[in-house]
């Protein structure tokens, strides 16, 4: 109890709160800009925190982390370009809502449900942290492979009108992910002797090119008025805060999505991007109007925004209870903890319980803080849409290019953005869906590496995927999910 009070008091120290605010604002900006990710934000700020006391430094890091994941959804909604990979699924319904003139409400949903997800994630950490972490360890290569397959079963759902075209697009994405060094033998694949290709095609430039540049080009092509200062749109922008009834209606979907987000967050190596995509597809099963998914459904948007923030609590659980990074950001946080003399892991809960309570309180506070400033920030950003079209297009193009360059300072990545942009434009013309491509880019490498790893461990026996219980359950779930999606498509 004394430990709890001590940790809690450290977290609500006024100086810590100020650093939390600074972190939240930095996170908002970095997350909204396409290309700059939460990982980058936390990495840039970590060395600065060495000179701060633990509660101040962690307040800043936690503020950045939480708000960057949330604000990635803002650019997904407004300009159809995910600000961070965690918000890919938010583009499906978020941008559709903007086209309907409901950008304000979409942003409001993003704020509210990111916060709901974030808080539920922490609640899970407090309530069932240790059993959850134990569950994460039962994931071996076989389970990772079947999890990837389960994620890939979403492909049909994100395929748009034609399943066949969606599948082809997905496998095209998979083939792009093959470029680089083979994950098991290290042999070069499709590198054409170029050093830049050894590391493979970076995912973020492809994503930004397909969504950001591709979207701009297709708008120029059709001269669509969806992003302009349309009188109808600006009147509706005013309402950002969702009504109580709207929130209540979205609650079941949000609860299921947080659960998915937490579980996927707990599993090391599976992050918020996968959580958002899987939650978007699976929550449809309990949605009131599943047929609206992808066409501007509030439920679909709530699902993806809840899941990606719920993921943070899951990742933090793995990190604190096992001392293992749940994702790239927690890998950096482990470093920060060690600098403050605290080794994450089971003994941390015994020897540094006050530190644990402090981190948990800060996580909860960070969600409350971005709930407060998020509305305000989103409202300002919607003004961006009332600029003349040429301004919007020019801004998206330059931010996409420089943002992608910023990740790796690589001129090669600029070329990738450009080519992906061309591809994104052509695919829009030919009515080929983009969802399956990014899905395969994220999950394809995970499926391949883990299938081969599992086969090395099992001595080449494929039965390993059916005899291990979690793996079997995931395979059955994938089959069910695939079948129902196909049947649903048939009906409509």
């Amino acid at each position: 109890m004394q430990q709890f009070v001590q940790g809690f008091l450290q977290a609500i120290d006024p100086r810590a709160i100020i650093y939390l605010l600074v972190g939240t604002f930095s996170g908002l900006i970095i997350g909204t800009l396409p290309g700059l990710t939460a990982t980058m934000a936390v990495a840039i700020i970590t060395p600065l925190t060495f000179w701060l006391s633990p509660n101040e430094g962690l307040a800043m890091l936690i503020g950045v982390w939480n708000s960057a994941i949330f604000s990635g959804g803002i650019s997904a909604i407004l300009i159809n370009t995910p600000g961070t990979p965690a918000s890919i699924a938010s583009t499906f319904d978020g941008f559709a809502l903007t086209k309907k003139g409901m950008a304000g409400l979409a942003l409001g949903i993003n704020v509210v449900f990111s916060c709901v997800g974030g808080i539920l994630g922490i609640v899970a950490l407090i309530a069932v942290g240790f059993p959850l972490a134990k569950f994460a360890l039962s994931f071996g290569p076989a389970e990772y492979f079947t999890l990837a397959i389960f994620g890939l079963s979403t492909m049909v759902a994100v395929s748009g009108k034609s399943i066949l075209k969606g599948m082809i697009a997905g496998f095209l994405g998979f083939s792009i992910a093959l470029i680089g060094l083979d994950p098991i033998f290290g042999s070069e694949r499709f590198t054409f002797g170029r050093m830049e290709l050894l590391g493979g095609i970076s995912f973020i430039p492809v994503m930004i090119g397909l969504f950001g540049i591709g979207e701009v080009l297709s708008q120029i092509f059709t001269k669509s008025r969806t992003m302009s200062a349309d009188a109808r749109i600006t009147t509706q922008l005013k309402r950002v805060v969702p009504t109580f009834k709207e929130v209540k209606d979205l609650t079941p979907v949000a609860l299921l999505s947080s659960l998915i987000g937490i579980v996927i967050g707990v599993i090391p190596g599976a992050g918020a991007d996968i959580a958002g995509l899987v939650a978007w597809d699976q929550s449809r099963r309990i949605a009131k109007r599943p047929e609206e998914y992808g066409k501007g459904s509030l439920e679909g948007l709530a699902a993806s925004t809840t899941a990606n923030n719920a993921c943070l609590g899951g990742a933090l659980t793995t990190m604190m209870a096992l001392g293992l990074p749940g994702d790239a950001v927690t890998a950096i946080l482990i470093g920060a903890f060690i600098i403050y003399g605290v080794q994450p892991g089971p003994i941390m809960f015994r020897d540094h319980a006050n530190f644990v309570y402090m981190v948990i309180t800060l996580m909860l506070l960070a969600n409350v803080v971005f709930l407060a400033v998020g509305f305000f920030f989103s409202k300002i950003l919607t003004k961006f849409l009332s600029l003349p079209q040429s301004f919007i297009w020019a801004t998206i193009i330059i931010l996409s290019l420089v943002g992608s360059y910023a990740i790796n300072n690589s001129a090669f990545d600029l070329m990738i953005v450009f080519l992906s942009g061309v591809l994104g434009f052509i695919f829009r013309l030919l009515d080929v869906p983009l969802g399956p491509i990014v899905l395969a880019l994220i999950l394809g490498p995970m499926a391949e590496a883990n299938m081969r790893r599992a086969l090395i461990l099992s001595g080449g026996s494929f039965t390993t995927f059916f005899t291990r219980p979690i793996s079997l359950v995931l395979l059955i779930l994938s089959a069910v999910s695939l079948l129902t999606s196909v049947l649903r498509k048939r009906k409509s």
Partner: protein, 141 residues
Amino acid sequence: MGDLIFSLVSIAYSIYLLVESSKLPAGIATIPGPGFFPRLIASVILVLACLLLTFSLRRFFKKTTTPFPKGRWAQVSLVLITILLYVLLWGRCNFLLNTFLMLFSIHIVTGSKWYMGLIGSAVLSIGVFLLFGNVFHVLFF
């Protein structure tokens, strides 16, 4: 029409992929090597694309195919060329100047008034330079 083009291009691509991946070792049956997945993926694309081709050919001969979308090809091509030039010239001349010129020509091509384009591009390029160059320490030239 779109389906027809997409399926043909996909078929060509999958054949290329098959040829390229045949140079990689496939591994033994139970432990797949580096070439196993590329071959698998290429074959799946080939089969699916052939299916799509048959469907779209049937529609093509029944004349029920949807016409190719009409749009502003000239503007899109000009914007694309501008971006391509910008990417190719990265590292040469001056970042601010290059960025300004690219943004300005996008403004003009998409129908902005010249003075609006001038102001917009100047503000945006300086803003990007300051934010990314000074705050995020991106390596510009």
